[in-house]
């Protein structure tokens, strides 16, 4: 076989913004070393690196679980070896925007469950809160540590054709993916060790220490070694790998609901080999309403009966605090720029995607008339479920979807279909553009920190905009490349 090397002039991202290549053959500054290096490899060499990566994933046992045909299947994590690069200067601005946004959202949540000033001042309409499934009455009056409710946030960012980075969703409930971000880096270092020598790529591997420090800052007791645990729904959950991974990296116990018990003193204990041991901070990876059957779903077997009682009494911290999801409502999302201005007296650094609230009759009419140009999303789902991408749907699918929206407009929002940015992706030995998004992770406790980059998810099918791993998406390593002329960006960590 003739060894044809990569010719970037042949690479055509079409009308999308490509993260590595600006115009035919021209690499963006942050990607210069990477594209030069890739151009020196033959397709065969590239393929063998991809094979090496896939072998490493199988051997390291990096998996996610999908529920299919009535049973759970543990699948290897789909990974593409070509990294996505972002210039450090641009990233620092994005990180500042993320910090700003989460700070405001936490002030908002704390306000909603306490004084509700923002409603009295008519910035956010009361009925939005009154009709939100994620506004949880048992949380009213609660005062979590540092007044921070959403301690771990996985914001989804997308870039449109003109290069603007938008916030697509705030995931404030139990966002997942950070372990894959960390593993992607380990694999990339194995596959392209040469590249790390010559570029200054910001490290991501202190995430577990940051997470433990943040969680420890939430302890309700004094003492220098609070008992922190990770609460998982169990081995059949799609993110079980991540729960175990984070517990291991932090060196804390991974517990299931049955391992915990709330005693008569309203404190939470875990069942250990030496009897009951008090727990201070629970990083819970189960949904709000499954947390406590005394309070929410009476038939939930995943949670811990009485845990809400213990939390309200201030005897245990839950991260994220129950009820944080109220700010995750896609209708609330539309108000975030006003929320930032209200609490921080600042303009939002990161813009929202223009959003039509279907609850407004004028908007509803527009949305129903223009379904083929819009993405319509239910207000309270995640994982890409229950939504309609109008431009990619058939006429029949659109006709079936319209009555759902018309029947329950409060529950839907619509946004223009963005032309998501692309990154070169290895497809049958060739590099082709594929659409990506980005999920950075923000930690907020006594202090705030942002990961250097995040998890880049990629839609592996040509033209597809769906990046969810449960629906055929893969992932890539994300490099924040130091492009500051004097190298000053290298030692800084995000915008903490």
């Amino acid at each position: 076989m003739l060894a044809v090397k990569i010719d970037w002039k042949q690479y055509d991202p079409g009308s999308s913004y490509d993260e590595l290549i600006s115009v035919a053959g021209q690499s963006r500054t942050a990607a210069a070393a990477l594209t030069r290096y890739l151009a020196s490899l033959s397709p065969k060499m590239l393929d063998s690196r991809q094979d090496a990566a896939e072998r490493a994933i199988a051997e390291m046992g990096i998996t996610f679980t999908v529920y299919s045909e009535g049973r759970n299947i543990d699948r290897a994590w789909p990974f593409d070896i070509i990294p996505r690069t972002i210039a450090a200067a641009e990233w620092d601005r994005i990180a500042a925007g993320l910090t700003q946004r989460l700070t405001a959202l936490n002030l908002f949540i704390d306000d909603l469950y306490n004084d509700q000033r923002i409603i009295r001042d008519s910035i956010v309409p009361e009925e939005i809160i009154a009709t939100s499934r994620n506004f949880l009455k048992p949380c009213i009056g609660a005062r979590p540590a540092h007044a921070v409710w959403a301690n771990i946030c996985g914001t989804d960012l997308v870039r449109d054709a003109d290069g603007t980075v938008y916030v697509l969703e705030d995931n404030l409930r139990v966002p997942s993916g950070v372990s894959y971000m960390l593993e992607n880096r380990i694999i990339t270092k194995r596959v392209f060790p040469e590249l790390f020598k010559d570029s200054s790529i910001r490290s991501v591997d202190d995430y577990a220490s940051e997470l433990l420090e943040m969680l420890s800052s939430l302890t309700p007791r004094t003492g220098d070694r609070p008992e922190v645990v990770v609460l998982t729904p169990g081995i059949y959950n799609s993110a079980y790998f991540e729960h175990a991974y984070l517990a291991q990296r932090m060196g804390v116990e991974l517990v299931e609901g049955g391992d915990l018990v709330v005693a008569d003193d309203d404190c939470v204990y875990m069942r250990s080999i030496s009897g009951l041991e008090r727990v201070d901070v629970i990083y819970r990876r189960i949904n709000d309403t499954a947390l406590d059957r005394e309070c929410f779903e009476p038939d939930s077997v995943l949670g811990v009966p009485g845990i809400m009682r213990a939390w309200r009494a201030g005897n245990v911290s839950l991260a994220n605090a129950p009820g944080s999801g109220v700010a995750d409502d896609k209708v609330v999302y539309a108000y975030v720029p006003q929320i930032i201005r209200y609490y921080l007296d600042q303009d939002a650094i990161l813009p929202n995607v223009p959003t039509h609230l279907c609850a407004d009759p004028k908007n509803l009419e527009y949305v129903l008339a223009n379904l083929e140009k819009l993405v319509v999303k239910p207000a309270n789902e995640s994982g890409g479920y229950g939504m309609l991408v109008g431009s990619h749907a058939t006429r029949k699918e659109r006709e079936e979807f319209a009555p759902l929206v018309a029947a329950n407009p409060r529950n839907y929002i619509a946004q223009p279909v963005l032309n998501l940015s692309t990154v070169p992706t290895l497809v049958e030995g060739r590099l082709e553009p594929r659409h990506v998004d980005l999920r950075p992770f923000i930690l907020q406790g006594a202090a705030t920190s942002v990961t250097a980059g995040g998890l880049t998810r990629v839609a592996l099918r040509r033209g597809s905009l769906v990046v969810n791993s449960s629906q055929g998406g893969g992932s890539k390593d994300t490099w924040i490349v130091d492009t500051y002329p004097d190298g000053r960006g290298h030692a800084r960590r995000g915008a903490a």
Partner: protein
């Protein structure tokens, strides 16, 4: 340490040990059958008895070897097959990933990948030894890795308890079958006695050590005494029980069980194996198997699901 995690680590160790012991046993048995004429009456079905497949329907005659090996190696419906045992070990490691060193999890995961792809090639004779001895070596690698890189705190102690309990259990099964087949028909098997005792020792990796420590011609009574009560051989019943005792002494709330183990070690040490007839030997084996099952139950009451 969480009770649930302690139990999983314990079972991870048991399944891992079971996979190793079965692999070695099948390997040794394969070699043995090459040396024995059919007239001895010793054939594949009796090894099925050791592994404890229970009342599975077994083929006799020419297809017996192939069918038995499929059952013992790759049949996922058979809980004692090596394939199923490794899958269970992996599942227990997967669900205790937060406390086991990552390298050990990776070795177990690779062992599982190896077993999935290779075990079926061990049904035939040609590659059987190569594949089974690799399984043994990989399990030993995991154990070595844990011994050298995992803190010897409670989690590791539970792992060692699981390993030694399973090992002792397997030793009693091997003794039981050896006694049943060798001592019942001594005349017919006389010519092969040496070979048979040798392979019994090899089934627990004990042949070479036996030679070094018991410098006498191979005798049934000596072999049995070695397997029951040698103080230094790590797979003798006595040594396994002693190891379990050492581990339990380091665990919280372990006093009652440690005492119980101490009694068991004494009992096995004081056995006069040479003076026992077949029925008495079988009764002794039975007694230890009951004691081991009983230990399992007491561990559960003490650590895994205490009623408090």
């Amino acid at each position: 340490m969480l009770s649930r995690v302690a139990e999983r680590v314990y079972w991870a160790a048991r399944y891992l040990e079971r996979a190793e012991d079965s692999a070695r046993l099948i390997d040794v048995q394969s070699q043995l059958l090459l040396d024995l004429p059919a007239s001895t009456g010793i054939a594949w079905p009796h090894i099925v008895g050791i592994v404890g497949v229970g009342d599975a329907k077994l083929t006799r005659g020419r297809a017996a070897e192939r069918d038995t090996l499929k059952l013992l190696l790759t049949d996922d419906r058979c809980a004692s097959s090596i394939s199923a045992t490794i899958a269970m070990a992996r599942e227990n490691f997967r669900t205790t990933r937060d406390i086991v060193p990552t390298e050990a999890w990776q070795c177990v995961n690779e062992l599982h990948i190896f077993a999935r792809s290779q075990l079926r090639w061990a049904v035939g004779k040609r590659r059987r030894h190569e594949i089974l001895s690799e399984i043994v070596a990989r399990v030993q690698g995991v154990r070595g890795l844990l011994a050298d890189t995992m803190s010897h705190g409670p989690a590791y102690q539970f792992f060692c308890v699981g390993t030694n309990l399973e090992r002792a259990d397997m030793c009693t099964r091997i003794i039981d079958v050896a006694v049943a087949s060798l001592l019942q028909d001594p005349e017919r098997l006389e010519r092969f006695e040496n070979t048979l005792w040798m392979s019994t020792l090899k089934s627990v990796s004990g042949y070479q050590m036996y030679r070094q420590y018991v410098r006498r011609r191979m005798r049934g009574a000596d072999v049995l005494a070695f397997l029951f009560q040698d103080a230094d051989f790590p797979r003798s019943i006595r040594h396994c029980l002693w190891q379990i005792e050492q581990c339990m002494a380091r665990l919280p709330n372990g006093a009652a069980l440690t005492k119980r183990l101490d009694t068991l070690v004494q009992t096995v040490t004081e056995l006069t194996v040479g003076e026992l007839d077949n029925a008495a030997l079988h009764a002794e084996v039975d007694r230890f198997q009951v004691a081991l099952a009983d230990l399992n139950q007491q561990m559960s009451d003490t650590w895994f699901s205490p009623q408090n």
